[in-house]
Symmetry: C2
């Protein structure tokens, strides 16, 4: 197997152009070093003194010259072919490089006029980096043109693919660091090419940057035999091109020639797909393996230790430059090696002949609107939810698969936005299993590999994306949203934890970017968590974990919302609402199993808008100044069990006055100072009373309710039942019994919470205990729930 290296034929590449390109690269490198080190004297027009150097040297040099090299060459090909391209920078800690390049091309100063293209602007550019009140060290929301943070590694390539879907004219260049390439999410991301349709989607150009080292170690991929590297990327379905070396002139030639070849390939793949001449298989997209030294062009040695082309170049290659004159001399020599006088004019502006190397206007990668997707975002077209409403004439009489109703709505969302091609549904192989199958009436799963005649709902043009990797689903969706589109992710509740950290990073991105005036809002990231903890009949304990929302609730209030719609009409309202919001993460938890229906669509709308409310039809307060007990519930199964408990109580202890409160929008529980949806204390007291016992049946871990309500007047009387980590493969009702969230335990808790009642209700308690025992015997004998549970109806 011969590796593909760049063609020796470099005819057509102008040596003068490449020499100018080298100067441009040096300018970017100079500005990168300046950001890490300098407070002042930005152009070194005087000798470098201690006070010119930052007291705290922070940043990552190692990856930066490689990132700059790539940026300069992508600029060249953009100009040569008028390409619409964005740059996803996997090694996000190479922030100084991307900032430097956007500054050179002018897109930085356009957004941040105080960082002007002159000496003073350059001084500010240097000073602000990793400085209090300045900019972060990583590529971040503050960085023009970026849709990718790069702080937590692993997601560059999925973000790139997400950006490319439904953007047929876009090329997403994606630099993958060889550190990042060791992560799981990145290792799986290479298979994303099997979901990219060259006829309707853009192209992704992965550039694996092998600079050989992490913080203190070589990288696995850089030390693999070349033959294995070639095998690996062919195995992933790519055609790898290798650019390798350290001598700049040769490397410029190789890179320029390789990019020409690669863009020829991309064009021919796209043309064949678009004019219908393509073979009916997954095209073999090109990718580049760039092997260049870590800390390239930086100090070769410091204090007798190898730095360039080694892990010591990872962060700040020469430390302590403010205090140590010898180190400062290394720094000064290093910076002067780029010859700043040759690069910048008297005003400190990039010289004219170098300015010409950058693309213009929105072709600059820092100004491409796809890097600020809110600019391109079109509102999602949605149908009226009333058209999908289930009829509720008698409470609880109708049994419906709640998510199936939402599926019908989503089907029509797909149809309405078909022309805009800006809505996709994501999930790990579970769209059908999660009862959203109605969408397959109008679309398919996207599938670029072989399709067999007996396959069902697979096509090249499907708008449902399924892969058994929550990481890929999440990452594609993030990339899709951040470039101005809309999406919906349905997932097993327990396994959404797989992307906890990706959610964290996305929430952080939203928090920061929503404070940047120039970043326009992007659509919210919407999760439907179904196949939830209470209905894992096929699976058991490993599939039971409702804790994702606990993590979500830690994030900035502006950004997160959590909904527990108890039936189909509330789910419709919530789903529709979430799809029309922006700059948020919305989590909807709703089961997919057949469930009784409680509210008409009008009632559902009013209830969901309030976020929580008294279900008067369920309780029996009728005029009591205070109920004896509040039976509160959040979640479909807890709502069902609460209503069943209320029915038992109303029959057994009719003198007990019960209020039923249902909570859809969990954030109403928090105090208003903590969350904009939080109820005012008086409103909260109106629902939950100031001193009456509250039996709160909650879908997840009980602690979340406690931490949200700890400041409320009546907190001391709130008794929460929820999932307490008791689970196995058993019947649905037995799951609630194991966790004491079932109707019998709830009813007992209600009786016991009312002072003076327990003694009078001994018989009722005994009857409830007997029921629990009967249940236990029955399920262990029959393997299913008692008929009175299976066919229970609300009849108070």
């Amino acid at each position: 197997m011969q590796r593909q290296v760049s063609s020796p034929d470099v005819s057509g590449l102008d040596p003068l152009e490449l020499a100018r390109l080298d100067r441009y690269w040096r300018a970017a490198n100079y500005l990168s070093v300046g950001q890490i080190y300098l407070l002042d004297n930005p152009l070194l027009r005087e000798p470098l003194k201690a006070e010119h150097v930052k007291p705290r040297l922070l940043g990552h040099w190692g990856t930066t010259p490689g990132l700059n090299f790539i940026y300069a060459h992508l600029n060249r090909i953009i100009r040569a072919r008028d390409i619409n391209m964005i740059y996803v920078c996997g090694p996000g800690h190479g922030g100084p490089g991307i900032v430097a390049n956007t500054y050179l091309e002018g897109s930085y100063s356009a957004i941040y006029p105080e960082i002007a293209e002159d000496v003073d602007g350059m001084r500010r550019l240097f000073r602000q980096f990793s400085f209090p009140g300045g900019i972060p060290s990583h590529v971040a929301p503050e960085t023009p043109g970026s849709i990718h943070e790069g702080g937590e590694l692993g997601y560059a390539l999925v973000h790139a693919y997400g950006a490319a879907f439904d953007n047929p004219d876009l090329v997403v260049a994606c630099v993958v660091g060889d550190g990042e390439a060791e992560t799981g999410p990145l290792a799986a991301s290479w298979h994303s090419n099997k979901f990219l349709n060259p006829a309707r989607d853009g192209a992704v150009l992965p550039i694996l940057h092998l600079n050989g080292y992490k913080i203190a170690n070589p990288t696995l991929l850089a030390r693999m035999p070349d033959e294995d590297l070639d095998h690996l990327f062919r195995g992933y379905g790519h055609e790898p091109f290798f650019v390798e070396g350290h001598e700049p002139e040769d490397m410029h030639r190789q890179m320029a020639a390789t990019l020409e070849q690669v863009f020829d390939r991309i064009r021919s793949i796209q043309q064949a797909a678009r004019d219908g001449t393509a073979a009916n298989d997954c095209p073999r997209w090109p990718m580049i393996v760039l092997r260049s030294p870590k800390g390239w062009t930086g100090p070769k040695e410091v204090d007798g230790k190898k730095v360039e082309d080694f892990w010591r170049a990872h962060q700040v290659p020469v430390a302590n430059c403010r205090q140590d004159p010898a180190h400062r001399k290394i720094l000064e020599d290093w910076m002067r090696s780029y010859d700043p006088e040759d690069l910048f004019d008297a005003d400190g502006r990039l010289r004219e002949e170098l300015r010409e190397l950058a693309p213009e206007g929105p072709r600059r990668m820092g100004a491409n609107p796809h890097g600020n997707g809110g600019l391109l975002r079109k509102d999602l077209l949605v149908p009226a939810i009333a058209d999908y409403a289930v009829p509720v004439t008698e409470r609880g009489a109708l049994i419906v698969q709640t998510t199936d109703v939402l599926g019908q709505y989503l089907r029509d969302v797909l149809t309405l936005n078909d022309e805009n091609a800006n809505f996709r549904i994501f999930g790990p192989d579970e769209t059908e299993s999660n009862r959203l199958g109605a969408v397959f009436q109008v679309t398919d799963r996207v599938w670029m590999e072989r399709i067999e005649p007996y396959d069902v709902h697979l096509s090249r043009d499907g708008r449902v994306m399924e892969v058994l990797s929550e990481h890929l689903c999440q990452g594609w969706l993030e990339g899709y949203l951040l470039t101005g589109r809309h999406g919906f992710f349905s997932c097993y509740e327990a396994f959404i934890h797989i992307v906890d950290s990706m959610f964290n990073q996305h929430a952080k991105w939203l928090k920061v970017s929503s404070k940047l005036e120039w970043r326009k809002p992007v659509s919210s990231l919407n999760y439907l968590l179904t196949s939830h903890v209470w209905r894992q009949d096929h699976n058991g304990f490993s599939h039971q974990d409702p804790g994702f929302v606990d993590l979500v609730a830690n994030k900035t209030a502006d950004v997160v919302r959590i909904y527990f719609p108890p039936d189909a009409n509330t789910l419709l309202w919530v789903g529709d609402h979430c799809l029309r919001t922006w700059n948020r993460v919305n989590v909807i938890v709703a089961g997919k199993q057949p469930e009784p229906q409680w509210l008409t669509i009008e009632e559902a709308a009013a209830h969901c808008e309030a976020g929580a409310g008294i279900w008067e039809w369920a309780g029996n307060e009728d005029g009591a100044i205070q109920p004896d007990v509040v039976m509160a519930c959040a979640g479909d199964v807890p709502t069902l069990e609460t209503l069943a408990a209320v029915m038992l109580l109303r029959a057994a202890v009719p003198e007990m006055k019960i209020r039923v409160v249902n909570v859809v929008d969990l954030m109403v529980l928090q105090s208003r100072e903590h969350h904009p949806h939080g109820l005012a204390d008086t409103e909260f007291d109106d629902l939950f009373t100031k001193a009456q016992p509250v039996i709160f049946a909650y879908h997840g871990y009980p602690y979340l309710i406690h931490r949200m309500t700890y400041k409320r007047t009546n907190h001391r009387n709130i008794h929460v039942r929820g999932f307490v980590e008791e689970g196995t493969t058993t019947t649905p009702f037995d799951m609630t019994v194991l966790n004491k969230l079932d109707r019998y335990h709830l009813a007992m808790a209600a009786i016991e919470s009312v002072p003076g009642l327990k003694e009078k209700a001994d018989d009722a308690i005994a009857a409830l205990k007997a029921k629990l025992e009967e249940h236990d015997r029955y399920v262990r004998e029959h393997g299913e729930d008692m008929p009175e549970i299976q066919y229970w109806k609300w009849k108070p």
Copy 2:
């Protein structure tokens, strides 16, 4: 490139033996179907009636016949070569298959005598599966021989490698489903071969099982061109062998011959490494690609729809068999196709000539002690922590990198256990960066790829495992612990969220297995979370998230512990304690930056054993019946800021009586009913008072303290300061200011919390506010903290 298919030379393979092996496989398939479907009539000695069929049909058939096929062939090679082997079943939902095989070989009945090897035992075996009070549908702790749950997919291969490290005589067969193979963690896991030393470690035999389909979709790998598959696994460094087909006789021949070849390869790799004749590079380990139909030998069609070799075979291929006689007929025909009379004798016991095909005693994969690692576990040898204690003669005078001290202790743990070869340290490239570098005085990082002369601390025999994948670190460690060894995982605090879901699954495993008498305790999984939220000078917001412990606190109390040692001696005590525990997950959060030292080693031991305590030397209660305020703290930075606040308060408001409480073991805060470490209410009140204000400076999200203390008498007066999601790249002290956890805010909060004091302390408040403004000006001007902050000393 020619794919490697099994040698046509099957000489040496006895056709009669293969025919018996086929019968054994049929027996396993029969028992698997029986578990999914039958309540009674286990041997079909009467016609199948409705009441013999379970009312709820739960389970996964699709993967099962393939798992059974592999198990039978591994049995054959174990017997032929006396191999010490365990079976890691990635498609864990193929539980019925592994249960069936362990039942056939007798290891199941040995553990569960009520599931005897007779007709009645078989009836119970069938009935218990996915049945209330029975066993879960997945391979789980209840399954003999398993160290792997398989509910959440992605971790089979890392678990297998973890089991193989330091077990030179062990072969870990690892079945990877083609669904699982799409996940990120699994995709990265293939690189684990680059960490396996054939001289000192065992072998892993990955068997990629391509049955083609997930729940409702083809799989990516099964539809890849054969050539790409071959490339991919060569790229991963393997030598792939293909076994493909559906005709049993041919498949048996192929599989048997392939296993012979594969085990020849394994033997020659190990021999060469062990006798010193190996080339000095990463060996190319064999792996098997087994392509067989999903639901192999099951119904080909049901209701006119394709089932076998399609995704409809994934779970229960023919539904509703209790109610639908036609479906029941399909089931009965299917089960009878295995010819149970040919397989089981009159007593319902596997026929003698088939029993001989199973290995004996501990060679049975269900009885191999490596599958129940607690049996093999030797106590970790640890040195006396006093030998590493830092001297504390003056509170806070000594400045030490706390984790560096722990590193010295860990170094000697490595030395003490070198001979037992049962302790490793794991982390994503951060052992040195996390200041545990002392371990490199006695060991290296394990590295099987090329080593250059200038590389530092890399060797084939290192006991530190670094890879830039938290998934791999976690998975290897889990596999290592579950096979009876010890380990330590140090990680960036924010990025431990990457393995949230793996932690969840491991905690669930521990919870269940600790209730199974026959499963012996395994060592705890110990995390050191350093590079924490308060010290991300190089990184910023993306690296700031202290929420992992919130997730941990959701898990069963028996299993989890969370520690915040405030200095080196407390860290030593906690680290040593955690390493000596079992069946737990211990989370230690401690910074790596230079910090003042507070407690002598004796004080540290007493303080840590109590979990929390009053630091009398820091407060000024001296005889006050109740302090005016309790200044509580948990975490190194909060402790420092609290003490600094106390110093300010004692100077500015000397009449104010302050108590300082430090919390090391966070679980003491919970009530005793929630956690065994929880303080009794009277003990809690003794520390935190019943009614005085408490200013609690906490390392993480404040809500965790609220949810843990909500039942405490004084909860209403506990005011928590912590990380409120305000972060960026700035100075360490500015980070605390952004989140109002700094000394000035804490001191103001303390003054304002004491009734009647605020008015008298106007000047003090004004001075504190002025200090905050001074700080703000200073950092924005100088880029570092004020000298009085940087060089602050405790001098009350």
